[in-house]
């Protein structure tokens, strides 16, 4: 035990501070998306009917499936941390891969959803969209900006989770030192948290 304590001292680790840093980053992310939510809220109250008409174009099934996928992945990554803390390294790695797989499914789903919109010639700058009313253009602009920025976060989250899995495999992240996985999981939960608000706002409240 004495030896371990010394090793820790030599490492200059401060897991509490690492986590605080991650939370501070999460706050900036919340305010980034918060700004977009604010723009959405204000334009929604100004162009009420247009937002209603435009939101009917969205397919609730795509949104609902992606919500389920993200919620399951969020639980999987939380369980991966529990598994690592309980020294079940194999299980932890499998759960991380499950999370990455869910992230991939989310992006595939998004690809088909956006693809269908593109086929109907609804995309930023399209001729059809430019002929629509001002409120419609704003709605689809916000739809692409918000889901696009979110999808970017999903992609980044996937990369971070794969890095975490590699580091567990290499023994750099282990049951005595798991703050990297903890912070990666926090980032993944943030992605889920944002979608929890995006889904009803864009797909459900018509």
């Amino acid at each position: 035990m004495e030896h371990q304590a010394k090793a820790h001292l030599l490492e200059h680790r401060d897991d509490e501070a690492s986590k605080l840093g991650m939370w501070l980053f999460i706050f900036t992310e919340i305010l980034l998306f918060g700004g977009l939510f604010l723009v959405y809220a204000v334009y929604r109250s100004i162009y009420h009917t247009e937002f209603h008409e435009a939101s009917l174009e969205l397919n609730v099934v795509f949104g609902a499936v992606n919500t389920i996928v993200l919620l399951v992945s969020s639980m999987a990554i939380a369980m991966a941390l529990t598994a690592l803390q309980q020294n079940k390294i194999q299980l932890s790695r499998q759960l991380i891969w499950l999370t990455v797989f869910c992230a991939f499914i989310f992006l595939v789903n998004k690809y088909f959803e956006w693809g269908a919109k593109f086929e109907h010639e609804i995309y930023p700058g399209s001729e059809l969209l430019m002929k629509l009313k001002h409120g419609h253009i704003l709605y689809f602009g916000l739809y692409y900006a918000m889901t696009g920025l979110h999808a970017l976060h999903v992609t980044v989250g996937m990369v971070i989770l794969i890095v975490a899995e590699r580091r567990i495999k290499a023994g750099k992240v282990h049951p005595e030192k798991y703050v990297f996985l903890e912070n990666s999981a926090l980032y993944w939960h943030l992605v889920d948290l944002i979608w929890i608000f995006l889904f009803p706002l864009l797909y459900l409240i018509t």
Binding site: M1, Q4, A5, H8, R13, D14, D15, E16, S18, K19, L20, W23, L24, F27, I30, L31, G34, L38, A41, V42, S45, I46, V60, A64, T67, I68, L71, V72, S74, M75, A78, M79, L81, T82, Q85, Q86, E176, K177, Y178, V179, E182, A185, L186, H189, D192, L193, I196, F197, F199, P200, L201, L204, I205, T206
Partner: protein, 98 residues
């Protein structure tokens, strides 16, 4: 201090708790879809956002371990939520009374 002095948090969330939270989150998702399929006018927005806030609370508390986090992080999260709420309220006051 315990040997876990350097670990970020000593609390380990049981699998069972995480699974229950997921079931509740999924149930709330279907509830939101159901609620919004009826035309309740402005109530749709209020109910859907209320459910979303509760889902957010569950994710923050259990998945993100905020419930077992130290007071500093809890206060900071509270402040950020308050800041965002203020930004929304002030902007709306501006738009409504213009």
């Amino acid at each position: 201090m315990s040997d876990n002095h350097h670990s970020a948090s000593t609390h380990i969330t049981p699998y069972r708790t995480l699974a229950i939270v997921l079931v509740v989150l999924l149930a709330l998702t279907f509830l939101t879809i159901e609620i919004t399929s009826f035309d309740l006018k402005a109530w749709n927005v209020a109910l859907a956002l209320l459910v979303a806030c509760f889902k957010g609370y569950l994710v923050l508390s259990y998945f993100m371990h905020l419930k077992y986090e130290n007071l500093l992080i809890k206060i900071l999260v509270g402040m950020v939520i308050l800041l965002f709420a203020l930004i929304i309220v002030i902007t709306y006051i501006d738009y409504l009374f213009r």
